[in-house]
């Protein structure tokens, strides 16, 4: 699309810029003293208007001859040739106009008096055309850099989205294989329990399936995902997991990004419970603050500060924080606090009730 034709506002501005040019042209025509100001203005206004549109056409030849692709020689030849043709045609139009005007009583003899002005017309036509070429090259360069910027932005947003989606949809392989190992142990010792574990694991996996495509789910669904996860882990860790919950029922219908809390509870198990010989507690608190406008959630667990460093796997805290920020910006807060033997992650975000949770 032509950058000026396509926008009425831009076309208006462009034509306004030609008013001083028309004035300059009229002035140039009067300098030799053969033509009066009134005659010069009568000629220069329609001539400028016509040439304004002629110059617009130089955009096409600028676009066709990009500065990066062609050498200076070719560019100069192309544009100077085009400028020559345009200005000579313009001069013919000017001569035609002058001769038709001279038939009117007010402009008698204009045709003859105009003849010496032809070089002025050709010269200024050349200059104006080349100016317009420069102008359009600048516009093209600006557009290109803006496009490149937008493309980079779009690409980085897409890349981050894809990354976040991939991380969201991931089930920690360590969790999966350990659970399968528990089932393997139970098949001979307690087959009913083994079947129950299969069902619990199936239930958890089914709930996580397809969550990657959703942008939000009700908090209630996220909580039941956590319960499904803990049900599996309780088979593995037995009495080592003590879960304490304090949930404000008003928060249950608030939409949240899927798998916002499950990774936090999983971390509490992996970095807390799994390192404690005698086990420990996990506390989950969900409260409505600020007259129900904000939801604040705390996941807290006991941990052994002298435990060996766990090998990193699963969805990390950084991912949860990034997703919280991506969705709520600075309306959300995220804080991690490690004390003597407890580890606490606190997050607050606005309750966006009434939004579609798809």
């Amino acid at each position: 699309m032509h950058p000026i034709f396509s926008h009425l506002r831009r076309l208006g501005l462009y034509l306004l810029a030609w008013i001083p040019i028309a004035g300059m042209l009229a002035y140039l025509l009067t300098i030799p003293g053969q033509i009066t100001m009134r005659e010069a203005v009568t000629l220069s206004i329609p001539l400028s208007l016509i040439y304004a549109f002629v110059c617009l056409s130089s955009w096409y030849s600028c676009r066709g001859n990009s500065l990066e692709k062609y050498g200076l020689g070719r560019l100069v030849t192309t544009h100077v040739t085009a400028a020559l043709i345009a200005s000579i045609v313009w001069a013919f139009v000017a001569v035609g106009m002058a001769s038709s005007l001279s038939k009117m009583p007010a402009f008698t003899g204009l045709s003859a008096r105009f003849r010496p002005e032809i070089p002025v017309i050709v010269g200024s036509g050349l200059l104006l055309y080349l100016l317009s070429v420069t102008f359009f090259y600048i516009i093209i360069a600006v557009d290109l850099s803006r496009d490149a910027e937008a493309r980079v932005m779009r690409a980085s947003v897409l890349a981050r989205d894809a990354e976040l989606r991939a991380l969201k949809a991931q089930v920690n392989p360590h969790f999966l294989f350990n659970s399968l190992n528990s089932i393997s142990a139970l098949t001979t010792s307690d087959s009913a329990k083994a079947r129950e574990m299969c069902i619990l694991l199936g239930d958890f996996l089914r709930r996580t399936l397809g969550l990657g495509e959703k942008t939000a789910i009700p908090l209630e669904e996220e909580l039941s995902l956590i319960h499904a996860f803990l049900a599996v882990e309780k088979v593995r860790f037995g009495a080592r997991i003590q879960m304490e919950e304090n949930i404000d029922q008003r928060a249950l219908d608030v939409p949240v990004p899927p798998l916002l809390l499950q990774p936090l509870v999983e971390n509490a198990v992996v970095h807390g419970i799994a390192n404690l010989v005698e086990g420990g507690w996990i506390r989950l608190s969900v409260q409505c603050d600020n007259g129900g406008g904000d939801v604040s959630i705390i996941v807290e667990n006991r941990f052994d500060p002298e435990a060996p460093a766990r090998r990193r796997n699963g969805v990390g805290l950084a991912n949860v924080r990034q997703r919280l920020q991506a969705r709520y910006g600075n309306r959300a807060s995220f804080a991690v606090k490690a004390e003597a033997d407890s580890y606490r992650v606190a997050l607050t975000f606005p309750a966006e009730r009434g939004l579609q949770t798809t």
């Binding site: 393997s184 010989v277 990193r312």
Partner: protein
């Protein structure tokens, strides 16, 4: 280590999950030649049991409370056969493959279990070559890249010391061992200095000499010593030799 015929193989299972121990116990039940002498639920118990009971075979989980599997191995040494048992750890598995360490991936079936057990028995009876690397070197090889050591486990007799790397002043190579200098004491550990170097965070620890790694936070100044050599002076007054290439590295760091 040739074994007398008829003598039972004494085994210990180390895993913090009861169900995981149960699977191993069940599979071992089919082997009368193996006697299960202990089950441990964490790293400290494992080191204690191995020291006291001197078993021949150890089934060792990697992620556990107190000490992880590699730390346990570093503390108990190479005098027994170890079969690592883990659910998922791509870096560890790669190291096991490269260094021909026996391992089982949870969940495993009887056939995998038998294969690993047979290999361990062959090595116990001395039929297969006994080429071992220091456990700490294996642990360093199994470490995920960019996840550096934050503590080092060492044993002095029956006592286990956990040294946070922040408390390490410097490391000195002594034959097959490294001496870890911390809080005025030196702890010996069987490991090559280059494998320890690769496990330490390079922004905090620097190899200044063929035989020395220094904690950069401890370096007060570097002085010329003889032609082409320097000494690094530490906060506690210790002077460490700095080689020519070590000096170039140290300069690059100090100039930053």
């Amino acid at each position: 280590m040739n074994r007398e015929a008829g003598k039972k193989i004494r085994a210990v299972i180390v895993d913090d999950e009861e169900l995981a121990r149960q699977v191993l116990r069940e599979f071992l039940g089919a082997h009368p030649e193996i006697e299960l002498v202990a089950e441990c639920a964490n790293g400290f118990e494992a080191v204690k049991s191995v020291t006291e009971l001197k078993p021949d075979l150890l089934f060792l989980d990697i992620q556990m409370p107190k000490l992880d599997g590699f730390e346990v191995l570093e503390l108990i040494g190479n005098d027994l056969r170890v079969i690592f048992v883990t659910a998922f750890d791509s870096y560890a598995i790669k190291a096991f493959e490269v260094h021909a360490v026996d391992y089982l991936l949870k969940p495993f079936g009887a056939d995998r279990f038998e294969a690993a057990l047979n290999r361990a028995k062959e090595r116990l009876s001395g039929k297969s070559p006994h080429t071992e690397m220091p456990p700490a070197d294996l642990a360093a090889a199994a470490r995920p890249p960019s996840q550096y050591l934050d503590r080092i486990a060492v044993r002095d007799g029956t006592r286990v010391f956990i040294i946070p790397v922040a408390k390490l002043d410097y490391v000195e190579a002594q034959d097959d061992y490294v001496a870890l200098a911390t809080e005025g004491k030196k702890h010996l550990k069987q490991q090559t200095i280059s494998s320890l170097e690769s496990a330490l965070d390079p922004s905090r620890f620097l190899r200044i000499h063929r035989s020395y790694i220094v904690n950069l936070e401890r370096v007060v100044k570097v002085e010329p010593y003889a032609k082409d050599t320097h000494v690094a002076v530490l906060t506690n007054g210790t002077q460490l030799p700095v080689s020519r290439s070590g000096y170039a590295r140290l300069r690059a760091f100090l100039d930053r």
